[in-house]
Every structure is written in structure tokens, then in C-alpha cells.
């Protein structure tokens, strides 16, 4: 069941992503801009990582040596034992801490040992509260907004480069995140170990 949902999700996600990129490419191609800054540098597909069972998104590499990365992801969580699915929207800001270490001689395979950064995630769901101002609670009763999370990221990435003009790079990353709510749990209770606090995800970045 889960695999079917995942497959459907990925197929739809990848198809709409390609469509969006084609449209953007077409639009900016017409006005004779070789590559607009608005067109994302790469597409992302991610499994787990606390945003959903699967997420898709896109990102930009900016700054010196393109070492700063800004990403936007949409995450999908099936309903399982509840009545409705969950959608999350996340912004990640990552920095390449240690840059590429070549693995193969012709630079076709390299390794980025560490990328680190911060994320802000919003769960778009009426069971959560994020920006509502009509909350009935006494001020400060809940210190957090259930629909908003912040997280700390650590990633390690394997990069494969191609001669092809369509896709220039495909990279695979493994990610560890620590969310604010888990940090408070960890501090409060020794039964929540560091293994409960650190959550993993993995994904693919496809650079065009």
C-alpha cells in the first residue's frame, strides 16, 4: 500500500517537476536569457527526513563557489490510521562546510563530507495551529506553534557528474536532522535518548 502511494507520488511529482522546468525553460528561453536566476538549479526528491514519507522540491546554489543552498520542499504523509493526509512545506538553508573531495580521477564522482544548515517547516493542516491569532489558550500556555517547526541539518553527499547537457549532476545525500521539539524532550527526559532525537532522511538532487 505504502509502496503504491510512494510510487504514485514520485511519478506525479517528477512529471509535474519536469513540466514546470520545461515551461520555465521555454519562457526564459524565448526572452533569450540563457539561464535566468529564477530557474532552480536543481530538483530534489527526498525520503523521510521528518517532512513526510516523501518530499519533492527544488533548490538554488548561490554565493561564493555556489556553497550556499536554498531549497523549498513539499512533503507528503499518508493518513494511515487517521482521517486525513498531512502536507508540509519546508525551507532549507544549507551551507557546504567541506567542499568536494574527488573520488574518481576524472571528477565524475566526488564526495561532499558535510553540508549543514537550518530549516523551517510549516504543516498545512487545520488540526495544527501556526499563525492563528484567535487561540483560546492563556498566553504562553503552549510555548510552541504545533504547525511550525525548526530544525538543524547535517548532510553528507555523493556527487556524480555527467557530460550530458540535460542533466549535469546527480547527487545522493543522507541527512540527519534535529527538531526543536525533540531537543526539548531530550532535555527533559533521559528516557528519550539521542537516537530518538536525531532523525534521518535521504534524497537525490538532480542538477540541470
Amino acid at each position: 500500500m505504502e509502496i503504491m502511494i510512494l510510487r504514485e507520488f514520485f511519478i506525479r511529482g517528477v512529471m509535474s517537476l519536469i513540466l514546470v522546468l520545461m515551461v520555465l525553460n521555454g519562457v526564459f528561453g524565448q526572452v533569450n536569457i540563457s539561464r535566468s536566476k529564477l530557474v532552480p538549479d536543481y530538483a530534489i526528491m527526498q525520503y523521510a527526513g521528518s517532512l513526510g514519507v516523501a518530499s519533492i522540491g527544488f533548490g538554488y546554489s548561490v554565493g561564493k563557489n555556489d556553497h550556499t543552498h536554498l531549497e523549498l520542499l513539499y512533503g507528503y504523509t499518508p493518513k494511515y490510521e487517521s482521517d486525513s493526509r498531512m502536507s508540509s512545506i519546508t525551507i532549507k538553508a544549507l551551507k557546504t562546510i567541506f567542499s568536494d573531495i574527488p573520488i574518481s580521477r576524472n571528477n565524475q564522482l566526488s564526495w561532499i563530507p558535510l553540508k549543514s544548515g537550518l530549516g523551517l517547516s510549516y504543516i498545512a493542516d487545520n488540526r495544527f495551529f501556526s499563525f492563528r491569532t484567535d487561540l483560546p489558550y492563556a498566553p504562553g500556555y503552549y510555548w510552541h506553534r504545533t504547525g511550525l517547526r525548526s530544525m538543524l541539518y547535517f548532510q553528507t553527499e555523493l556527487v556524480t557528474s555527467f557530460e550530458s547537457k540535460v542533466i549535469s549532476q546527480v547527487s545522493y545525500y543522507l541527512e540527519a536532522n534535529i527538531q526543536d521539539i525533540y531537543m526539548t524532550l531530550k532535555f527533559a527526559d533521559s528516557n528519550f535518548t539521542v537516537y530518538d532525537m536525531v532523525k534521518l532522511g535521504m534524497g537525490v538532487r538532480i542538477k540541470f
Partner: protein, 273 residues
Amino acid sequence: MKLNLKILLFGVTLLFNCDAFETNPYVVNFDENEMDLTQKQLDKLQKIISLNPDKQVIKIAFISDSQRALDEFEDGIDHINQNNDIDMVFHGGDITDYSLNIEYKKMGEAMRRLKAPYFTAFGNHDALATGEASYKAMFGALDYSFKAWGHKFIFFNANHEEFILRGEKAPDLDFLSRQLAEPSDNFENIFMISHMGPFHREFGDENRKSYHQLLLSDDRVKLSMHGHGHGHKFGELYSTGFNYLQVDDTASENYILLTLQSNGNYDFERVFY
């Protein structure tokens, strides 16, 4: 070098720990053995009752507000399990703090170690985000009742403020009226259990009086038991002679041991562990 090895070991352990790949902290996804606990406990209770249907004195351990206190909760469970006289365990709600999946799973795992049948009230912290769905999957209905040895126990959701946000009413006074309207058949006494009690503003100002009136209207109701206050309290609310009981939180390492007589008289002591 030693540190590198430690980091490597940590990484490998994380990778092979499947739960580490988290889909969503609020996902409502449980294993079969983690679900429908209330119904499973009711079945267990029925078997126990059928072995000794004429029991005159029953003992209930009442614990509450275990959020962020899993260590103390585990100790409390060990303590309760050592006492073979305890017939049932009640949890007054706030099982979790954020309604996270991992909190529900860990607290449920601890609770499943209890030897006596256990029943839970739905706390306001259990009602955040997807908490209601998680609670329903793991335990069952938010409002429910059952009978045991001549007593009726009514558990109800009194999270007034959390349900305003959903556009729903809690406590459901109609449900309570219907429960009280049931004629005595195989029970003589009624005990009410909810997380939020009328001690608290969060119960809803209008609800406090209506609830109190409702309880006064039926002299089979002997006691109203609650959590939420993070402190022990026992006494009247409106000088009408009707008493409310509030149990301390789990972090303070104590619970209430309630003794019920078949005539409806009750007695309790605070047990520190």
C-alpha cells in the same frame, strides 16, 4: 581517532535503527499491538470480573500527567505492578506533551507493562496536532464508560479549549446526561474521570456549573476525578458537599490508591514511590 570511531559507531547505529528514518513526527501510524488498548483492557477486565464477580472492595491506582516523565512513569508502573491488590489503573491524561508519535509509542509501550487493566482519560496535551487521531487509534473513544463490580466509571473528554479550535464541544454534557440517565441495573455507584476538572478555567466557565449541577442531580455519583493541575487537591467546589479529587503529576512520583466499597464509600491514600 577514538572520537572518529565513536562518530562512526553512532552513525552506523542510527542507520540500522529503522525508526530513525522519520516520516513525520506527527504521523498517525501504529503497530497492531499498539492499538485499540481500551477495548483490549475491557476484555481483560471482563475475564477478571468473571473469575471473582462478587468482589466487595476494589482498589484503583490513579496516576496522571506523565508527559515528559517517562522515567518516573516507568518507576510508577513497577511500583503499581508490585501491588497485587490493585484491580485497575486509571491514567488521568496528558500521557504525552506534544502528541508526537514517538511519545504515544513510548508511553503506550510503558503502559502495556501494567499487570492490571488500565484506562485512560484524554488530556489537552494529547489533543494537539494529530493527537486526537493518535489517541483514538491507540486507545479508542474519547468518551466511554464501563461497569465493574457494581460501579460505573465514566471517562470523558473535557478539553474545552482544544475543542473550541475544532468548532466542537467538550465536555459533551449530552453524553454525560445520557450516561447518568441509565437506570441502575448492575451498578449502584458512579465515578467520573476526566483530565481537565472543574477546578480549572480551561474546563469552560459555563461547563463548570452545568457539570456540577449534573453530578448533584444523581446521588449515585460519588466522586469526580481529574488530573491537569500538577498537584494534589481534594475538596468541594461549591459548598454542596460533593467532592472533587485531583491527582498529582507523575514527575512528582506519587499516585493515588483509591479503595471503593460496594456501598459507594471510598477512601484514598497518596502513594509515594
